[in-house]
């Protein structure tokens, strides 16, 4: 009977570690019903609330209006936890090109869009069992970050 107990506990832990509602889309996208500056502020607050540090906000707007865009409000927000970054640099350098994590933010008229790579896609790129839990955790955290912004 003990073996059944162990099996059930293991299954329980697996279900708790990987929520049933987890989405495996390649991109996480959210449309925010706020202006670009409001969304940018909410995004940075949400990132910090999730325990991350914003390392940089990169502008990608040179030439945008001249190429037909109505707006030049287009940025990339980089964020990461320092200890996690340093740990990955040592153990999984192949992940470095994807770090720090980032969210693209750009305006569409009076609304704003957030786009980021679903961290679970990294699990597909790097089928390294040791990192699966980290990718799943990032996925949950990134979804919480953008969901909080959308809920504002």
């Amino acid at each position: 009977m003990r073996i059944y107990h162990k099996a059930l506990v293991s299954l329980l832990l697996i279900f708790l570690a990987f929520p049933v509602s987890a989405v495996a889309d390649d991109l996480i996208m959210r449309r925010i019903g706020m202006t670009f500056p409001e969304t940018m502020s909410a995004l940075q607050s949400s990132i910090v609330e999730e325990g991350y540090k914003v390392s940089r906000v990169q502008r990608v707007d040179i030439g945008l209006t001249s190429s037909g865009y109505n707006t030049a409000e287009y940025r990339i927000v980089f964020f990461m936890r320092e200890d996690v970054l340093h740990d990955i640099v040592k153990k999984h350098p192949e992940l470095i090109p994807f770090l720090p994590l980032k969210i693209t933010i750009f305006a569409e008229r009076s609304e704003t869009l957030l786009v980021t790579l679903n961290p679970m896609k990294l699990a597909e790129f790097f089928p390294d069992l040791e990192m699966q839990k980290t990718f799943a955790q990032w996925n949950e955290e990134v979804n919480r970050i953008v969901d909080r912004v959308q809920a504002e």
Partner: protein, 348 residues
């Protein structure tokens, strides 16, 4: 004790998802999955305007279900395999709430037509918008943040997702009625006979045999390209800086990987990112798909690992798959070549 675990297991496997699903009404599912491209009121953006009355009057529920499930391979619209059947039904119910029209039901029987004659009619009347091979309008939907001369771009009729989703009857009905608010006219009013229209349907259906061949896979491409440098980190970064200039790219900045996360004096100077950009390519890429900013500006990372110096970049040909956008293919191939040339020059 054993019963206790059984009870918890049943609760987690059955009860928790059921409760979650109960909360997920159609609007919530729409907000989570569709609103980014189709807009809050279904008025479109990167995706088509779903709330367009004529669209809802001609699109059957079967078409919507299949479109959600299969998507449009290579044309941005992803396949939503993660949604349950019940969630898809709720989603369609929400989309239907934008219109009073009764969902049409179409026969699955093929329409009898002459594809050879249909080709000629198609080339005369349809190819201007849908392309001679049914490739559809250029660009990624009606791209975000850009002026809209039209509410919708002509769909790719040769797309596997479209051909799986649209029955012959639905294509015929769309040709007969057209779609107000889009450039799609009623071709019965434009002078085509019903037989002409049947022939066009037969020709469009003939795209099916070629649809599979159009799709390409990038799964053989590695996600990251890593090369070993014979130089120190500092020398490699200097060489890369020079190579960037010789490739007509502008150096944006050189920064340590942990810049902004660590005190400047404590940054790891053996993990360095070289950012560069060619603004023409950048703007072309953003025109094709505004989401590509995720991999902008161009980035090459130099990393000291033990006694090795590695030079690495995310492979654009593999990253392309996350966008489900065939129009980025050639640009991603070009960018991979650019990265290779830059690194080859730096590591000479």
């Amino acid at each position: 004790m054993f019963r206790f675990f059984i009870a918890i297991f049943i609760f987690v496997v059955i009860a928790v998802p059921s409760q979650a699903h109960a909360k997920h009404d159609g609007e919530h599912i729409y907000l989570q999955n569709c609103v980014s491209c189709h807009g809050y009121d279904g008025n479109g953006g990167m995706g088509i305007p779903l709330s367009l009355p004529d669209f809802l009057a001609t699109a059957s529920n079967d078409y919507l279900v299949k479109t959600i499930r299969v998507g449009r391979p290579g044309r941005v619209m992803p396949a939503f395999k993660n949604l349950s059947d019940n969630e898809v039904d709720m989603l369609i119910g929400y989309i239907r709430s934008w219109s009073d029209s009764i969902p049409p039901k179409y026969s699955k029987k093929p329409v009898n037509g002459d594809a050879v004659h249909g080709k000629q009619v198609y080339l005369d009347h349809c190819a201007e918008c849908h392309g001679a091979s049914g490739n559809g309008g250029k660009g990624t939907g009606v791209t975000m943040s850009r002026p809209r001369s039209q509410p919708i771009l002509a769909p790719a009729l040769n797309n596997r997702g479209f051909l799986v989703s649209a029955s012959d009857e639905m294509i015929k009905n769309t040709l007969i009625k057209g779609r107000k608010g889009t450039p799609m006219k009623s071709y019965l009013k434009e002078g085509l006979s019903e037989q002409d229209i049947n022939d066009v349907v037969a020709y469009v259906r003939s795209f099916e045999s070629r649809a599979a061949a159009i799709e390409e896979t990038s799964e053989d491409e590695p996600a990251v390209i890593i090369k070993e440098s014979p130089y120190s980190v500092e020398e490699t970064v200097t060489n890369l800086t020079n190579a960037v200039g010789s490739m007509n790219f502008r150096l944006i900045r050189i920064q340590n990987l942990d810049s902004g996360l660590t005190e400047e004096s404590k940054e790891d100077k053996k993990q360095v990112i070289v950012y560069s950009c060619n603004f023409n390519i950048l703007n072309e890429a953003l025109k094709l798909d505004p989401r590509v900013g995720l991999f902008l500006p161009c980035r090459i990372t130099v990393s000291q690992q033990g006694d090795k110096v590695l030079v690495m970049y995310a492979n654009p040909k593999r990253m392309n798959e996350i966008y489900n956008n065939n129009e980025l293919d050639s640009m991603c191939t070009e960018m991979k070549t650019v990265y290779e040339d830059m690194i080859d020059e730096a590591l000479l």
